[in-house]
Amino acid sequence: MDSQIYLRNVSTLTYDASKCIGCSMCVEVCPHNVFSMNQKRAEIMDKDRCMECGACALNCKPGALSVKQGVGCASAVIWGFFKGTEPTCDCGAGGEASCC
């Protein structure tokens, strides 16, 4: 089993190939090799490897990629739940503190 794959079919990553300008930034920033270049266009090799870090979408100038960026952290989800916010790393002491 590929130890770098979490759950199947959950990633919110979407890709509109018609907008791709072939800059390959997504390949450069993705920490899990989700993308590869094929004939000057990016393509998604394995979406299940995506951890929704958001780096590709943020660095895709034409906006061909989008993903709901978030931290894959259960404590963050719990803290967000209690604070009534989005999942947050600010668990515990003070505003600038962090668990990660």
Binding site: T12, C53, V77, C100
Partner: protein
């Protein structure tokens, strides 16, 4: 911003070597002690004797990040631009946005980087990608962001190879070594909850059909403490270490299996005289605790997505709560039979 009335101060020089205090500090923060105040001042630094063509390496002001970067640049002449991330490492700070486009633009301008270098290249760690938009930094400052390797240990090869990355340099790993380094933080972080649980479970141990019994408090209390410690370390330490070999993709599932097995083995070896309800009660509680702590390790892992974590929590959190409630009820009932 107008800088015409400001005097330019030479960026401070830093050393690539670690002092004894640096080594002690690194050990300390690995065990979650004083991590939030382990910081360096943001701004531009010189390592060696960087000239106008020397590369600019961007990093966070978490001192361990900064220390690992400078250690890996030994013998080189480079500029190091430190962003204010409030003592958080690059990847986590990028996720929050503090290691972000705005802060990088601010530091480039405030440090007057353009006066120190004649080129327009910045080497940003790849894991800063979730916070830094290369094209937006370029639009705002003229500097072009090159996303360097994931790990500081590859910077040297990256620079020597003409700023080219291979697949290994751009891939995040999650080896046994990484898990061993990260698990202690989890172990330390939840210790107080272990203490609360011990107080409750030892308190319950004294219940008996003939009133509150100190003898039971003592005999069952010791077991309660032992089982809680066992479940705690199974979830917070053993499960992270054995992660790839435990069944299920769900971290909560991995932890639950580990918790069941660890309790089963220890209970059967140690005290075979448990009443069945008492045994089942502790079995469920052990699985729930271990499952919860293993689930929390999703935050330390490098490949879990928010959507995935939410999916597993929708299933495992209710299950963990149910197991604890049923487990407690069974243990209490077993006291009165």
């Amino acid at each position: 911003m107008d800088f015409s009335n400001l005097t330019l101060i030479t960026p401070p020089r830093i050393d690539s070597r670690w002092s004894k205090a640096d080594i002690r500090g690194a050990m300390r923060v690995r065990f979650s002690l004083g991590r939030n105040s382990y910081r360096v001042n943001p701004g531009l630094y010189k390592l060696g004797n960087p000239g106008k063509e020397a590369e600019v390496i961007v990093t966070a002001n978490y001192k361990l990040s900064f220390d690992v970067v400078r250690k890996n640049l030994e013998g080189m002449d480079v500029w190091v631009l430190v962003l204010e991330t409030y003592g958080i490492n690059v990847w986590c700070a990028a996720g929050k946005g503090t290691f972000g486009t705005e802060e990088l633009v601010r530091q480039i301008k405030d440090s007057r980087l353009d006066l120190y270098v004649s080129h327009k290249r910045l080497i940003v760690p790849q894991l800063g990608g979730p916070g830094i938009s290369g094209h937006k930094v370029n639009e705002a400052t003229g500097f072009k962001v090159k996303f360097g390797p994931v790990r500081a240990e590859d910077i040297r090869d990256y620079l020597a190879g003409g700023l080219k990355k291979d697949q290994a340099m751009r891939s995040v790993r999650f080896d046994l070594k990484d898990r061993l380094l990260l698990a202690p933080v989890e172990v330390v972080n939840s210790l107080r909850y272990l203490l609360y649980a011990m107080v409750i479970m030892v308190g319950i141990s004294g219940l008996s059909s003939s009133g509150y019994s100190l003898a039971d408090l003592w005999s069952d209390g010791i077991r309660a403490v032992l089982y809680l410690i066992l479940a705690y370390f199974t979830g917070a330490l053993l499960s992270p270490v054995l992660l790839p070999w435990l069944p299920f993709r769900y971290f909560g599932g991995k932890g639950m299996v580990a918790g069941f097995v660890a309790f089963g083995v220890v209970a059967c070896l140690g005290w075979s005289s448990h009443p069945p309800l008492f045994f089942v009660g502790w079995f469920l509680i052990s699985g729930a605790i271990s499952s919860f702590l293993a689930m929390n390790f999703t935050g330390a892992s490098t490949y879990t997505s928010l959507s995935g974590v939410q999916k597993e929590m929708r299933f495992f959190v209710p299950l963990q709560i149910a197991f604890v409630i049923v487990g407690l009820a069974l243990i209490i009932v077993s006291k009165y039979l």
